[in-house]
């Protein structure tokens, strides 16, 4: 039996969840098709940072809109995903890094954010556990964290209460547009709709390719690990501006750590294994920043399957080949924070054809021409595997 709806979302990650939530909240019929469990891929395996500092300058309107949603979602819905306004510390250990901090801070202040610049003495007073040679850091109190393992199921449940249909273990076999509507064949039957959202994360390139839009998306994940729990002393999440390590301590006491460079996923596209050498490098980097943690034990290592593009920008917005198709995938490792904003914008585009939040920089059209590699992309990957995704 063919099931009809207004909008089909392919991909039950956090973007799919927020898009479904914003559509369903307005009474718009929406169905989410998820090939596995909701929030089980990069939406659930990421670091959980809701950082406003140091973002792509163009992204601030979207990012700030997203942060406002994160800040009130639990209160307005009664669901919990351990949102915690921890603040975030960006750390420099030498002059060039400090210059970078100042540059990021200036951009963020231009967006109305309160960024504190802390020199060695102030740092030592506020964060006495940081290494002696820490030069300076910027702190933004509006930066926050949330538990990625809980976030997507929580948002999906709210969307469901507003009437969204969430179908797990429903793999998309084919998607086509027949002139008047989208027809999606899945392992759980046929679905038709007037709009289609491609929120398939690292698998989004394959969906776009079915509509003739080829993008050089590829899958990778950062090495992540977690220590055993010990007394809660590190309040903000912390990041070396040189990209070597980012970490946060949760109230339970464990320190969660992500390091770089990232690793390309396995050929099956479904797993990213962390080479042990990268875990050791991350451990060493962490011990250098917070010597106190040298006594800690690492209990678990993991990564995820995230979609990346060589310019380190996601693809968000309408398809340039098919009316009614909208893309939101390959967030290049920074999709968690902006996901609510993407959901809100897509919901507006689908319902009204317009959104005030600018997203043009993320247009899929940019891949018609050669896109220059981002400096961050070159630094944070050790294996270059980019190439157009095959359908």
């Amino acid at each position: 039996m063919t099931q009809e709806t207004e909008t089909i979302i392919i991909g039950g990650g956090l973007i799919g969840a927020f898009t479904a939530y914003f559509l369903a909240r307005e009474g718009h019929p929406v169905t989410v098709l998820e090939k596995g469990f909701v929030g089980a891929q990069s939406s659930g395996a990421n670091f959980g940072n809701l950082r406003l500092q140091g973002r792509d300058p163009y992204q601030y309107p979207l990012s700030l809109r997203a942060q406002a949603i994160w800040e009130t979602f639990e209160e307005t819905t009664g669901e919990s995903f351990e949102y915690d306004r921890t603040g975030h510390l960006y750390i420099a250990r030498n002059e060039p890094e400090l210059a970078k901090l100042e540059h990021h801070a200036e951009i963020a202040r231009g967006q109305g954010l309160n960024i504190e610049m802390l020199a060695t003495k102030a740092l030592k007073k506020r964060f006495p556990y940081l290494a002696e040679d820490t030069l300076a850091a910027t702190f933004c109190g509006r930066d926050a964290t949330a538990n990625p393992r809980l976030a997507t199921p929580a948002v999906m449940r709210v969307a469901q209460r507003f009437g969204a249909r969430i179908i797990e273990h429903c793999e998309t076999l084919s998607t086509l547009h027949t002139g008047s509507r989208f027809e999606v064949e899945t392992t759980k039957g046929s679905f038709v709709s007037s709009s289609l959202v491609n929120a398939a994360g690292a698998w989004g390139g394959a969906i776009a390719a079915r509509f003739g839009e080829l993008v050089p998306v590829f899958s990778a994940g950062p090495p992540q690990f977690v220590t055993e729990p010990f007394p809660h002393v590190i309040q903000p999440s912390m990041q070396m501006v040189n990209g070597s390590v980012i970490f946060r301590q949760i109230p339970r006491g464990n320190v969660i750590v992500a390091g770089y460079p990232r690793t390309a996923s396995e050929a099956d596209g479904n797993h990213t294994f962390v080479p042990p050498g990268k875990t050791l490098a991350g451990m060493e980097a962490l011990g250098a920043v917070v010597p106190l943690l040298r006594d800690a034990h690492v209990i678990r290592v993991w990564s995820g399957v995230e979609g990346y593009l060589p310019d380190m920008r996601p693809i968000i917005g309408p398809s340039r080949k098919q009316n009614g198709l909208f893309h939101a995938f390959a967030c290049c490792g920074h999709g968690f924070q902006i996901a609510p904003g993407i959901g809100a914008v897509l919901s507006e585009l689908i319902r009204t054809g317009h959104s005030d939040t600018p997203i043009e920089a993320y247009d899929i059209e940019r891949f018609r021409n050669q896109v220059p590699d981002n400096e961050k992309f070159i630094r944070e990957f050790d294996i270059r595997t980019a190439g157009p995704a095959a359908g």
Binding site: R149, P276, G287, D295, H297, I299, R300
Partner: protein
């Protein structure tokens, strides 16, 4: 040890990486040389076998690169990643034989996290390694032939206030007897444990239902209902729990082994052929492949070694190998009958009170797991259940709670046990210290 001896004798110099400081694993554990312990009493009629294997291993030590007190914390890209007192290191290999062994399978019960409660294996380690009893008044509880063996070992070394509580009813044991007779030697040996305990005046109660362990800050008593439903309370200061063995599967998984559900032993085990082959130049021997006991450990170690030599083009399949295969197969089949005589009481998971702690590392209760499963879009698979509830996410990485987690999840979701999946293994296999990473050259 058995595989290393076979490889050494064939002229290959194997590297043996052992987490323990003394060779022998669990079944052939060497007693601490600094303490005067009656090893002969501990090992009983297994003593000669024990001595023989150790002397063969010692005799080959000059042909083995032996690395004791060394943990393999990850296997990746054809290398074993190790940690010992000198730091992190890696060892490239052409062939890999894994003998990770097993630990006790545990069914939680209220109070099982109190100090004074040990796994059965830990109770044996305390005895062999440190010459200690885990308490003065000790209850061995659960469902395992090793309960009888451990109680006997304790009694022989002087412990007196002992009791065995076995959750499998006597009639089920009788029903399993014909199958057990297929390996009459092992069966008789088991009966002899029981007989010795009776003779020594150690009470053995079968068909009990364990209800809880009591105590303020440490174990004071265990409560149970006997086969007729009468309730009892035994004052004690230590409890050793065991419900048969649970294969250590992390290293095989990291090395690329595939898994299948063994309905007889009711657990996921690596897929192996009759030689223990789990992949390209990858072999798994001993209880880590499937419970088989001491004799199967020796035979499967030799099999793995000859299999690997064959893969490397260094030996031919001979008659010996087929004999060994038959032997291992028979011993492992025996364990399936034994698993009926000493049943894993999986249905207990359904009736555990909600407040029972299942994951002792992360303090997750049976009620937490059931509540997560009941939610809309709630987890119906173990890795998802772990992600939502933290059960299995702590220091032991699910090694001690995953069997119960699987049973509770399956019961809460109304699914068969093999449909809720298994926890994925992730490095490190055991916790590794941050500090050591700095001292290691990479």
């Amino acid at each position: 040890m058995s595989a290393a001896v076979a490889l050494a004798e064939a002229g290959v110099r194997p590297t043996v990486i052992d987490e323990n400081s003394l060779a022998g694993g669990q079944g052939f554990r060497q007693t601490n040389a600094d303490i005067e312990l009656d090893t002969r009493a501990i090992y009983g009629h297994e003593y000669n076998k024990h001595q023989n294997l150790h002397s063969r291993f010692r005799g080959c030590l000059d042909k083995i690169d032996y690395r004791p007190s060394t943990l393999v914390w990850a296997i990746h890209g054809g290398k074993a990643h190790t940690l010992n007192a000198e730091g992190f290191s890696e060892i490239a290999f052409d062939g890999l034989i894994l003998a990770p062994g097993a630990t006790d399978r545990l069914m939680p019960l209220p109070g099982w996290t109190l100090p004074g409660v040990f796994s059965l294996g830990a109770a044996q380690v305390a005895l062999k390694d440190q010459g200690c009893f885990i308490g003065r008044r000790i209850v061995f509880a659960g469902s395992s032939p090793l309960l009888l063996l451990a109680a006997l070992q304790y009694h022989k070394l002087g412990a007196r206030q002992l009791c065995v509580l076995d959750t499998t009813p006597l009639r089920q044991k009788l029903r399993a007897a014909p199958g057990l007779l297929q390996s009459s030697r092992t069966f008789v040996q088991g009966l002899s444990y029981l007989w010795s305990l009776k003779k020594r005046g150690v009470p053995v109660h079968s068909g009990v239902k364990l209800q809880g362990i009591e105590g303020q800050g440490r174990v004071a008593a265990i409560r149970y209902a006997d086969a007729w439903g009468r309730k009892h309370r035994i004052a004690c200061d230590a409890v050793a729990l065991g419900y048969g063995l649970r294969a250590e599967t992390q290293l095989p998984e990291l090395a690329g082994a595939e898994f299948q559900f063994d309905h007889g032993l009711r657990q996921w085990l690596p897929k192996i052929d009759t030689s223990g082959r789990a992949g390209d130049c990858l072999y798994i021997a001993g209880d880590g492949a499937a419970t088989g006991g001491a004799d199967a450990a020796i035979a499967s170690g030799m099999l793995a070694a000859t299999g690997l030599l064959g893969d490397l083009g260094m030996s031919q399949i001979g008659k010996d190998r087929r004999d060994l295969q038959r032997q291992v197969c028979k011993l492992r089949r025996f364990q399936h009958h034994l698993a009926k005589a000493f049943r894993w009481p999986h249905e207990t998971a359904q009736t555990l009170p909600d407040h029972t702690i299942v994951c002792r590392c992360e303090n997750v209760t049976a009620g937490d797991i059931r509540a997560a499963a009941k939610q809309a879009l709630g987890p119906i698979e173990l890795n998802r259940m772990k992600a939502i509830t933290r059960c299995g996410m702590g220091r032991c990485q699910g090694r001690f709670c995953s069997a119960a987690l699987a049973e509770i999840t399956a019961a809460a979701c109304g699914k068969p046990i093999d449909a809720v999946g298994r926890l994925r293994a992730q490095a490190p296999v055991k916790p590794v210290p941050l500090s050591t990473s700095e001292t290691t050259a990479r």
